[in-house]
Symmetry: C2
Subunit: 344 residues, 2 copies
């Protein structure tokens, strides 16, 4: 639907967290990313060739992905000007921002005049049902977090790769715009109407009878005052058999909210298990995933070991150290597929 | 904006819970309701004169309110046929259903041809912010519940009337379609996009410095697998100083979900206080509101007394027995307005 290859947009971003969509694509779909676009004041890079729009078009890029985020997901004047310039150079535009490309008259006018496509990845498909909480057949794992942007998507994708490598059927179920761009399907959960949050997850993770796992991408945090409603509905809709809790050990405060502290790991784990138990009383935690990218290797390993000891769970940095310890725990005490199918 | 007086729609409904919007208007805005419309198979009544559309128009009705609800809030064929007949008789249409009047081509065509207005009360206003969880000045009370449809709106409106009668400034903050029709403003919370649930409540209950109370209408239940996300975001956005928990003592199971039990009162209260504490660590419970409409008076009073004893909180049926005991508790240990203002 969205033409590839992509040119990934960084714009004026100077905050690593704000470019997570662009980076996610660069990491998990490098085959379809020809370059990155950034202004001179942007100190960040994805390690891709820097290109302006004309160069990218000449290199074969078909779509500029506005893979940046900001609170509220608004389209700033700079984004709009850049998107227009990209269309003039021959590119389509894809965006995961809350504010829709198709709601901006200038973008719609230029796209119409030049014959370009505007893709709003954050528009949910119609027909999402109200959740019903009925037990479903199959195995489900959900990543949860102490905060937003702590590695839930990365962890989920690493778990999918790890299970697949072990010969266990596994499917990544995307719930955010980057995940959807990577997986090719999913639901942009934070854009779903509030009454349908859990139903949206029930829909993307239906009954499965092949003994495999649905690996569901988590969103937000039960301890984030802006987004805990999303996380709650996601827990209920996922009815996970297993959760993996993701955490950024150097995060100073909740994302965007200097007046809110990051919760204690044990307290956060307990809260997630308690909420999840409403729709799956057998839910269990199988691991902790730390984003240790800012720590030296030895320190990262020591921190994972200490955390594992403290919580009695495997702890790793999935991207840096792999997910084998978590998979060992997950598969060691998973219910037999037959029993699960019968129960549902 | 919506022309009054109203004709209230019951249609083919045979479930008291499904007509709560029509009944809420009949109870709290009797001055603007001229009659009710029901088919012969509808065993329910609001105690208003039964009228067909022509009779209602002749009696002065300006708008048919489709004050009925069903899971998912869809517009059935019978509702559409009735709405068209009502427009042909001269009435506008107002609806609180999820599925919008303006999304049905037949309704739009008839309304356009006849010059009638279609009002979708469930469409949120644009510009809702992401919640920020910052402490706000003023006093706030939120009604919460063991389930959906257990009397949260009634209780909130009774508390508003009671406080006003005591000379305390109080404002009802509506979060559902009926409440919005009654109050003339508010936010249809279950129709808000998931990322903005708490922000929507912060917006309708901003700083207040007059020593009065915002009385915020609750929605759903932390223990309802379909809607707990909404309830969670509402708790966080409301940052209530006080909560009143509403409960239907004869409810057999969670609304719409025979496979889910109604939670224990103490457990539900504790869960609500725990979630609310994220944005207001000083939150306290000040009462229990039971909907005893199906019980004899003596039994209702005994149940309230037992519940009060068991939980150590005032317990009443607000509509039947008043809210004085809850108001006594609320005002006895409320922080002084000055202290609150300073804190924020």
């Amino acid at each position: 639907m969205i033409n590839t290859p992509y040119l990934l947009y960084l714009g004026h971003s100077d905050d690593e967290l704000s470019i997570k969509t662009s980076r996610g694509l660069a990491v998990f779909r490098p085959d379809v990313c020809v370059g990155e676009f950034r202004h001179d004041d942007c100190p960040l890079t994805l390690g891709l060739p820097r290109m302006d729009f004309a160069l990218a078009a000449a290199a074969g890029a078909k779509t500029l992905v506005l893979g940046v985020a900001n609170a509220g997901g608004r389209l700033g004047e700079d984004l709009i000007a850049d998107a227009i310039a990209a269309m003039e150079a021959g590119l389509d535009i894809a965006s995961g921002l809350h504010q829709r490309l198709k709601d901006d008259e200038r973008l719609v006018e230029v796209a119409g005049r030049l014959g370009r496509n505007l893709h709003d990845v954050r528009d949910p498909q119609p027909g999402i049902p109200v959740g019903n909480g009925k037990p479903r057949a199959g195995n489900r794992l959900l990543t949860v977090g102490t905060d937003c942007s702590v590695g839930k998507m990365y962890t989920t994708l690493c778990l999918e790769q790890g299970l697949t490598k072990r010969g266990v059927k596994a499917d990544f179920r995307a719930t955010g715009q980057t995940g959807i761009l990577i997986a090719g399907s999913g639901v942009p959960l934070d854009a779903v109407v509030a009454d349908f949050i859990s139903g949206a997850i029930e829909q993307i993770s239906p009954d499965r009878h092949d003994g495999g796992w649905d690996l569901i991408e988590g969103q937000g945090s039960l301890f984030h005052p802006s987004f805990a409603g999303v996380s709650t509905g996601l827990l209920h809709g996922a009815q996970p058999d297993a959760i993996v809790m993701c955490h950024d050990p150097v995060r100073k405060h909740m994302r965007g909210l200097p007046h809110y502290q990051v919760p204690d790991l044990a307290k956060c784990l307990e809260a997630n298990l308690r909420v999840a138990a409403l729709t799956n009383p057998n839910v269990r935690a199988v691991g902790i995933a730390l984003n240790t990218s800012s720590l030296p290797q030895a320190e990262a390993e020591a921190l994972c070991a200490r955390t594992a000891d403290a919580l009695g769970l495997p702890c790793t940095d999935p991207y840096r150290m792999g997910v084998e310890t978590i998979l060992d725990r997950l598969l060691a005490d998973a219910p037999a597929p037959a029993a699960k199918t019968e129960a549902a």
